[in-house]
Symmetry: C2
Subunit: 406 residues, 2 copies
């Protein structure tokens, strides 16, 4: 597997565009990702009962096994809690793109992100759709423009791409995502689009996507708030011309690894770019009794406001880590737990068998001062493990969210 | 029922003291509550698997049906994650008090709050215990000193007392509590002590306490972090000389109402004094299908960082309320929900049947600018309801917790 530059336009036959349509005040606000041939589609979506109009639209299309050829996305307005008019406007957005591209409306997935409760400015969207189609291109630059156009409070655009070989055939997987706040994906995620030229059956593609997010997008949290709009949409157009993947063979697992790398990278970029964050925090739970236990414990640590503020303050307040494990709702023996912290500035054991070691607070503070920090909990119960990613809780998180709408 | 001044010394036969022993740098750090006769004891404790030494001690004593005569409390050090030495030190604290008071060590409950992972400075504690006994008094002032001595990041001391009559006999219920951060009680709470002179059986007292916290202490949250030390301890010494309550008769419910008032008042004081808080936020879920649904929804709203920051910013960002309800994990119809905000500056309907009303943002901001704000969700599903209390998430919460140990 080789990591390459680029995002949604890296794979063969994919074009993208990102423009300013006029939904937001100044910044780019619409994006389009298009496959020159019909593609197999798959996706995972928010588990929130309150589902945005585009989420309902996409889940319905994918259930019907329609071929997918485009994803149109807007930022600024989430089109959630908008009633029937929201559904009508969402369909109008899909239709506008389908019309200009001369493809069936049932091949167009939609995604929206932004303020909840506002209606889409549908005339702006329709005019924007034409412009989006006009500007489609398969260059890296166009992929980047699309990634930029879906940003809200994000401070960096998020792209990733890799290539690998299936026999003689080079396969490419590329993706983009956005997400900075209201991030606590649960069987789904913020907005993400992954494109690939692999040839794969719909069933196998959905299997890769559904199991892939468990270790990646589902393991990040900025603020424990699962959004109404979380969507990860994947298109596989088959232009790599590999032998079509229809079972869990070697090719399946090679593709799985590539997909996993792209989504994990995007997930970590989102966690590290969490609203107001100064640091990416990785939590690694080792030697747990079960995978489920490892996941639950790592997510409980990564979501604790008290752990997050301590990390912001470079304070090795390990009691808060053990406390967050204790209320996670799973059984374990606190008197067995070892805790470590690690960054490129060093590694230190803070706790052995549930009690403080004689560690140096000075060294602990130094390790925590790096912008990527890992906390490791060794449960000494079994062999299962999990990793979760989050960020610190800072003054700027409060600032961004105290007046998000103004 | 009459609300009176005072706290743990309000009821007949209770004395208290609060002193500076030397555990913390400057502020008072030890408290004692004492009944002049053996009392019936009851309590609820943290559900966190990581339990502090005093929590294990108290749960064990109460299980053995021992008569209880004193509660000794310290702040500064939580005596959690301290291993066997922590248990030994905790017993030494109970013994020191029992010795000077000439009462059995099995009649002394203990409680600690402060930094996790540090050992109690046991010589300081033992010297402090003598001083505590020497300064015991039944005055209001002594009750206040005790309430002050258990404060950590609290900015105000928390006391409440009421009286009511059972036939000719006046019964008093008084209490104190502390708690400002790491507050998300779950079948238990922070540190709280309630004293009463009611005559009641142990079984009935525990019934009142266990069911009482469901609507009060268990309905507050500052940061979703359930502490290792949460404890509510209750002593009933019978000196009111009412006919002993041994069944759920009228006297039981009168006592329940008084106990409920005291604990709800203390709970709201804790939520409003949440770390860094500028506001008390009450969430009221009405006409839910079941009590459980109402509780789950109200707690999901009160714990959302995004709702809390919006409240700090006086921003009526109702989409975040509906979003937090949507990910709470219970079924409901979002298209039926009505949302209101209310304070002493007015009441306003923001949402009708899941969609925005044509409300005035200006008036909404004005209503939210008050220091006590209520959000109301009408589910239109049934008749169940619940109230939860929390606070806004502010710069000061981050500040307090980024360097709590330094």
């Amino acid at each position: 597997m080789k990591i390459i530059k680029g995002g949604v336009t890296a794979a063969k036959g994919f074009k993208a565009s990102g423009i300013y349509a006029g939904i937001k005040k100044k910044r780019k606000d619409m994006a389009l990702v298009y496959s020159i041939v019909p593609a197999v589609g798959a996706g995972v979506f928010t588990t929130n009962i309150v589902k945005a109009a585009p989420v309902k639209w996409d889940m319905n299309l994918l259930k019907q096994n329609k071929a997918i050829q485009a994803v149109v996305l807007n930022s600024g307005v989430a089109n959630a809690c908008t009633g029937e008019l929201g559904d009508i406007n969402n369909e109008k957005m899909a239709k506008a793109v389908a019309h200009v591209l001369s493809i069936p409306v049932s091949s167009v997935l939609t995604a929206s992100t932004g303020v909840i409760g506002k209606q889409l400015p549908i005339e702006v969207i329709e005019a924007g759709s034409k412009k989006l189609v006009n500007e489609l291109s398969d260059t890296k630059e166009s992929g980047l423009l699309a990634a930029e156009a879906i940003m809200t409070t994000d401070t960096i655009s998020k792209e990733c791409a890799v290539t690998f070989f299936l026999g003689e055939k080079k396969v490419t997987v590329g993706g983009m995502s956005k997400g900075s706040g209201m991030i606590h994906p649960n069987m789904a995620t913020m907005l993400g689009v992954v494109t690939t030229d692999v040839s794969i059956s719909k069933e196998m593609l959905q299997a890769v996507v559904s199991s892939g997010v468990i270790d990646t997008f589902n393991m990040i949290s900025v603020d424990r708030d699962t959004s109404t709009n979380d969507s990860l949409m994947v298109m596989a157009n088959g232009l790599a011309e590999n032998e079509i993947i229809t079972e869990k063979n070697e090719a399946y697992y090679l593709f799985y690894a590539a997909f996993h790398y792209v989504t994990e990278t995007l997930a970590k970029m989102m966690a590290g770019d969490g609203e107001g964050a100064t640091k990416l925090l990785e939590v690694s739970v080792l030697n747990a009794a079960t995978k489920e236990q490892a996941i639950t414990l790592s997510k409980s640590i990564i979501t604790s406001n008290l752990v997050k503020t301590a990390v912001f303050g470079n304070d090795a307040n390990w009691g808060r880590i053990l406390c967050a494990m204790g209320y996670a709702g799973v059984e374990f023996d606190p008197d067995k737990v070892d805790l470590f912290i690690e960054s490129s500035l060093g590694k230190l054991q803070l706790v052995e068998n549930g009690m403080a070691t004689d560690y140096s607070e000075e060294l602990a503070t130094k390790i925590l001062s790096h912008k990527e920090v890992t906390a490791i909990a060794d449960m000494k119960l079994g062999t299962a493990f999990a990793k979760a990613w989050g960020c610190d809780l800072t003054y700027d998180y409060v600032k961004i969210n105290a007046d998000y709408r103004s």
